[in-house]
Structures are given as structure tokens and as C-alpha cells.
């Protein structure tokens, strides 16, 4: 028996850690990993509610979210590689072309 509240609490904490990572890290790779972590927290909620309601729709949607996360990571990593070729850095605060 797992109570729904425990699952929600864990997924909320995972999401918070992801947000903190996105806000405070400078390395673009780690920021991408934190975005993945937030998507996984959302997935955990999907699974928990799917089990709570006894329907399988949440699990199907979690699978779809996983696919979108894979697409996102492919494009994001390609962007990081392109950025490294052009600017020779992956630190996001060295990339301030829009600063004016």
C-alpha cells in the first residue's frame, strides 16, 4: 500500500530539485538533466493518479511524455554541441549575446 500523498510529496520534491538545478547551475548539460528530472516528476504524478483511479490512461500518457523527453534531449544536446562549436563554452552565463 502506497498512499497517494507520499507519491505526490516525492514528485513535488523531485520537481523542486529540478527547478533549483535549472536556476542555479551554469553548465548547460546539467540544466538539461534537471529539465529531464522535472519531466520525470510529472511522470510520477501520472503513474500515481493512474493507479489511484484504476485506469490506464495515465500510464499511456507517461509513455508519451517519455517520448517527448527523448525528442527534447536530442534537440537540446544538438544545441549544446552547436553552441560549443561556435562559442567554445557550455557555461550559460558566457553566452550573453542578447544582453545588449
Amino acid at each position: 500500500m502506497v498512499s497517494l500523498n507520499l507519491v505526490l510529496l516525492v514528485s513535488f520534491l523531485l520537481f523542486s530539485i529540478g527547478i533549483i538545478g535549472v536556476l542555479i547551475r551554469r553548465n548547460a548539460l546539467v540544466i538539461l538533466m534537471c529539465v529531464e528530472l522535472m519531466l520525470n516528476a510529472a511522470n510520477l504524478n501520472f503513474i500515481a493518479f493512474a493507479r489511484h483511479s484504476g485506469s490506464v490512461s495515465g500510464q499511456a500518457f507517461a509513455l508519451l511524455v517519455m517520448g517527448f523527453a527523448a525528442a527534447e534531449v536530442a534537440v537540446g544536446l544538438a544545441l549544446v554541441v552547436a553552441l560549443y562549436r561556435k562559442r567554445d563554452t557550455v557555461q550559460v552565463d558566457d553566452i550573453n549575446l542578447l544582453k545588449g
Binding site: 538545478g21 547551475r25 500510464q59 517519455m66 527523448a70 536530442a74
Partner: protein
């Protein structure tokens, strides 16, 4: 011994959840990108354990295959491409990290305050039962993968097809972005 095993079995989700939280914190806090990737790998494995303990067997296995097998390797390749020649980053964290942490903690406290009753109150009226459809005596799919496939290919066929197009576009986009000379 049996008592201990039974306790562990009952609290499997909590164990995996705490391990996932710990390794996620390690991932955010560690200095080297390779350590971050290892923390990410362990987090994904723990979340897969959470899925398994929530009886989403197919999703748990897909999580292990997609994340631990695919995405982590992709991350490691890019770390190898990008980070090796570089010295250690001077500053790991942003200048405004103190404000960011304070802001996130404030929002978290506000959230917990708002949902205090939901999160810490007495558990939801009907606790989660194992396999509610079996408990209710309905004759639905016997296997998790069977049920998920019915949901995915019967009820949500259109989102699935859209996802396949999105994956194709992402594939082409990644190739074009990472190419050396622009067309």
C-alpha cells in the same frame, strides 16, 4: 528476518523515493559533469523502481531502457565531446543562486502550506489498493503491458502518431543543428 523483508516490501516506494531524492540532490550539487551524469543515471533507476513499486511494470522497464540505456549514454557522449578539453569550471553556481534557492524554498513552503491538509493530513479516504480493477472483480487486461497497449493504441492513437512525427522532426533537427557546415 521475514518481518524485516516484509517491512522493506511494504515501504519499497518510500525507499526508492528517498534514494531518488538524494541522488537528484547529488546531481545538482556535484562539481564535475560526469558525476552529475552518474547522479542522473542513479536517479532514473530509482524512479524506475518507484514506477515498478506503483505497479506500472511496463513504464518502469521502459524508463530503464530509455533513460539508463539511451539518454544517459547520449549525455555521456556530449560530456566527452564538450568537457574533456576544458578545465574545471571556475564557478559552479550562478551568482544569483542564493536568491534562487530562497525563492524556490518560499514557493515550496507556500505550496506545502496550501496543500497541508492534502499532503500531511490523514490519508485519502480510500487508500490505494493493489490492482483496483481486480479488487472490483472486473475482467480487464491481465497484464500491465496489455492494458497500456490498449490505452496507447486504442484510446490515444492520435497523440501517439503525433509523437512519432515529433520524434522524426527532432531527429532531423538534431542532425541539422549538430552538423559542421550550415546549408
Amino acid at each position: 528476518m521475514e518481518h524485516l523483508l516484509e517491512t522493506i516490501g511494504r515501504n519499497l516506494f518510500a525507499i526508492f523515493g528517498v534514494m531518488a531524492l538524494g541522488s537528484a540532490a547529488f546531481m545538482v550539487a556535484s562539481r564535475s559533469a560526469v558525476h552529475s551524469v552518474l547522479g542522473f543515471l542513479f536517479t532514473m533507476l530509482c524512479i524506475a523502481g518507484c514506477f515498478l513499486s506503483l505497479e506500472a511494470e511496463f513504464i518502469g522497464m521502459a524508463q530503464i531502457l530509455v533513460y539508463a540505456g539511451g539518454i544517459v549514454v547520449l549525455f555521456l557522449f556530449v560530456v566527452m565531446l564538450v568537457e574533456m578539453s576544458k578545465a574545471k569550471e571556475k564557478e559552479v553556481f550562478q551568482l544569483q543562486s542564493r536568491y534562487a534557492i530562497v525563492a524556490v524554498l518560499t514557493v515550496a513552503a507556500a505550496f506545502v502550506g496550501l496543500f497541508r491538509k492534502v499532503i500531511f493530513g490523514s490519508a485519502s479516504p480510500d487508500a490505494l489498493v493493489l490492482r483496483p480493477e481486480l479488487a472490483r472483480g472486473l475482467n480487464v487486461a491481465q497484464q500491465n503491458a496489455q492494458a497500456v497497449s490498449r490505452g496507447l493504441f486504442a484510446d490515444y492513437l492520435l497523440p501517439f502518431e503525433i509523437l512519432s512525427v515529433v520524434l522524426l522532426v527532432a531527429l532531423v533537427g538534431a542532425v541539422v543543428l549538430a552538423k559542421k557546415e550550415r546549408v
